[in-house]
């Protein structure tokens, strides 16, 4: 008897929560948790953007410095700068892609946990 009433109560609660969610959706009420998540995700995206910029800049500056050094040594300005700036840019993009891949891999692992 008690078991039956318990399960009935649970069913009622499930039904109420479903109807509440539907009503919230209809009224466009944003859940507090979702709101918090979106504000924290802004910080996370800013963080990613900052890391991406530093990875990109690292490659480009490194390429430029190597090219500048070689041009200075062989007095061929600006041939090596052009070549190594290009290679550096590609390396920067490659590092960025690796960073994003790593980030997504970690993210999906965390979500699974």
């Amino acid at each position: 008897m008690t078991k039956n009433s318990d399960s009935k109560e649970k069913l009622d609660l499930d039904d109420i929560s479903k109807r509440l969610e539907k009503a919230k959706k209809d009224l466009n009420i944003v859940d507090e948790n979702t709101d918090q998540r979106s504000s924290s995700s802004i910080g996370r995206y800013m963080w990613i953007a900052f890391n991406v910029v530093s990875e990109l800049l690292g490659g480009i500056i490194c390429g430029f410095l190597i090219g500048y050094f070689l041009d200075y040594k062989f007095e061929t300005k600006p041939i090596f700068i052009c070549i190594f700036l290009l290679i550096g840019s590609i390396a920067g993009v490659l590092n960025t892609i690796r960073y994003i891949n790593n980030y997504e891999k970690n993210n999906s692992l965390n979500e699974k946990e």
């Binding site: 530093s54 990875e55 690292g58 500056i61 290679i87 920067g92 590092n95």
Partner: protein
């Protein structure tokens, strides 16, 4: 208003004669580096000189820091590589202390200088290279040209991979120094607003600066953590084949 970048100016405290054209004077940067090391050493001595079964608050903090680094090492590099914990922990504490000491008024943030952070990054990468060469021998060079890649791609792939490797210390340096520099400049600029707006209007920037300082404290730890994690990633890349 004072120039907000003046706080990063290196001032000589003890003038020393030049050695081979290099200025080796003891500067405010050197002073705060020494202070960082001293504060860390004193903290760990006080926290751990009387180890107890039920730890005191200080002992808990010291153990927490150690556990954090140990856990990070086990996760990123592998549980069998614990001999690198002192190296990684030194880097973490040095960067964290630099960031935190820089938040004190009239102090100097040595982690905002490209020269200081850059040399530390280069040293970290060199240590990972030496560790990688010692462990894997010449196989370490396969990082630049993974096995199974067509030889025809070597003239393009190898320079790209070499520059990508060389840019690691640079991106580490940019990430930490720029973050620290921007935070301190912002604090200084907003502090200038307090003076300009006077007693009545100055309260708003004052409240803002309190929030910003708390935020900067969090950033100080976060940056040290990220710097350490990336060093662990580079160490793992050097020690293990892809």
């Amino acid at each position: 208003m004072h120039n907000p970048t003046l706080q990063f100016k290196i001032k000589e405290i003890v003038d020393l004669p030049q050695v081979n054209g290099v200025n080796i004077s003891f500067t405010n940067s050197s002073l705060f580096m020494c202070l960082g090391v001293l504060v860390t050493a004193v903290f760990f001595y006080v926290a751990l000189h009387k180890k107890q079964k039920y730890p005191t608050k200080l002992q808990s903090v010291a153990e927490m820091v150690y556990e954090l680094i140990r856990g990070m090492m086990a996760e990123m590099v592998g549980p069998s590589e614990m001999k690198f914990v002192p190296f990684i922990m030194t880097i973490f504490l040095f960067v964290a202390m630099g960031n935190l000491l820089g938040l004190l008024p009239y102090s100097f943030t040595y982690t905002s200088h490209f020269a200081a952070v850059g040399s530390m990054s280069v040293l970290s990468i060199l240590i990972t290279v030496v560790a990688g060469l010692k462990r894997r021998g010449l196989n370490w060079f396969t990082n630049f040209f993974p096995k199974g890649t067509p030889i025809a791609l070597a003239p393009i792939l190898v320079p790209i991979e070499v520059i990508s490797f060389c840019s690691k210390p640079l991106s580490l340096t940019i990430r930490l120094s720029v973050n620290m520099m921007v935070g301190h400049i912002m604090i200084k600029v907003i502090a200038g607003f307090i003076y300009d707006l006077g007693f009545i209007g100055g309260w708003i920037p004052l409240l803002f600066i309190i929030c910003l300082t708390i935020f900067e404290m969090a950033i100080a730890f976060l940056q040290a953590y990220v710097y350490t994690i990336l060093t662990c990633v580079y160490l793992s890349d050097a020690l293990h084949a892809h």
